[in-house]
Amino acid sequence: MKLSVGPLLYFWERDQVFAFYRMLAAAPIDSVYLGEVVCSKRRALKQEDWEAIGRDLAAAGKEVIFSTLALMEAESELAALARLAAGTATIEANDMAAVQLARGRPFVAGPHLNVYNGPTLRLLGALGARRWVAPLELDTAAIAELLTERPEDMECEVFAYGRMPLAFSARCFSARVRRHNKDDCNFVCAEERDGLTVYTREHEPLFALNGIQTQSAQVRNLLGGIGELKAAGVQMLRLSPHSHQAVPFSEVIEAFAHAVRGDETVQCPASALPGGYCGGPMLEAAR
């Protein structure tokens, strides 16, 4: 079982981003996904910055993959995608636009492509997908069932740690709750390094707003389910970045690194985020 660190879903300051990836270069992980997946207006890092981070991580022995936007609307976004696809980087495709441009060479089928059955998985495999990140709403049993139909050379990766990306919208919710609209957002999503927690009227943490993305308030933590995931045929676990205020992320990586080596006693450090940990695939399963 290998470990990856998924794309940074939040809008952090430039220095914080560089520091985070310097930490990863020395961490016991196999793969790192880079780039902006949520909002193309976030430009604290330019493409050249991401490429420089990618070179440093590759030099440290990590597999480097560039993730694409999940919701692609603007011509500028399609143009940026075309530039990325014209290069030599391996791509995680999160929209069929990216599949259309990456096809014919190895790519990762990201969690936001809708793959729910064998024929669709094999179709993507025939186009070049070599790894499939399961949709967030599939539980381990469903993934196991699907993997009996996978092409032979297709790896499977599962989102194993982090607030879960649940939905995308045209609307920016971080702006909306401050009575701004998206065209006048003032980049307020940068104010919450791990998303803005939304509670029910009974103060139960439910969602986290991250720009146009809605996440779970709960942090999915499948540390206790690694045996089942392995038995299902999963070969890689994705850890989704969180800030140091939320959790010492390097310790999360250490915990997972011990666990995949068979240490059954290891514990994750506690999360400081409202909502805590969710052991199942979704809140519903944990209730």
Binding site: N114, P119, E137, A167, T214
Partner: protein, 337 residues
Amino acid sequence: MAERPGIELVCPAGSLPALHAAIDNGADAVYLGFRDGLNARNFPGLNFSPAEAADGIKYAHRRGARVFVALNVYPRPSRWAAATAAVDAAADAGADALILADAGLLQYAAERHPALGRHLSVQGSATNWRALQFYRERFGIRRAVLPRVLSVAQVRRVIERCGIEIEVFGFGSLCIMVEGRCALSAHVTGESPNTHGVCSPAHAVRWQEQPSGRQARLNGVLIDEFAAHEAAGYPTLCKGRFEALGSVMHALEEPTSLNVLEILPQLLDAGVRAIKVEGRQRSPAYVAQVTRALRTALDACQRDPARYRPPVAPAAALARLTEGHAQTLGAYSRPWQ
């Protein structure tokens, strides 16, 4: 009967009476689903058996209207055989097109029933021309229904470059997330549009009268609480009232309906081929009223787009049928975003 030029009106049919109501009131096409849990309105008491669908298709064809069969969940392995059987059943029933989201199922339909039209469902999440190019080249789709996330200018741009017919939503309940990319309902209930064809499913809803008001819960989670003077809306997750930054608010969206009546000329000018009405779960009477209102407005718009103003009686009829008596242009209007 010759096809009407310009924009086609595509209306929902959750039952044969609703199908009759849509066609009798001016729908150019209706869409329906089978009673098999494989379409996005998997509600008790709704939808068609294959025999009922065949009856409905005959009724429509005799009156010059078309019928599209929605089969737009993403079938998991255990439902794959049922999904391909439903594709075959739609072909046998004489449907004019299938509305599909799953790439594997699109491939199956293209190979097995090449003459049967294929539309990409809104659940297919294609929000740009490059993604549509993928579906066109791979599966020969004739039409796509766009997710409710694009501005009118973006819709126009997609149409200029995609090379297929574009259908957009015109009236009804408003999804504010990209369709096919929303797992809010899965998070709270374990069931979602993608997997089960449901959002915030009725079996998970509980209403509770409390001294503080009427509570709407979804799988136990409080989605909203309504005071005596407030109209209690269905607890759809994205329309709930939650606490954010210390205030209780509709953090994602208010209860409201999409209504494009005032921008019909812009949609016509952008090259939109069809306007879709949401609401297969609605009554035949609702379908009749909405269809009649939009038929009147579309005819007026297409006769003289430059002088078009939303006609008064249809506009009033639609306003009465909106959720929470509120209507919006949604993402078609940039400020909404």
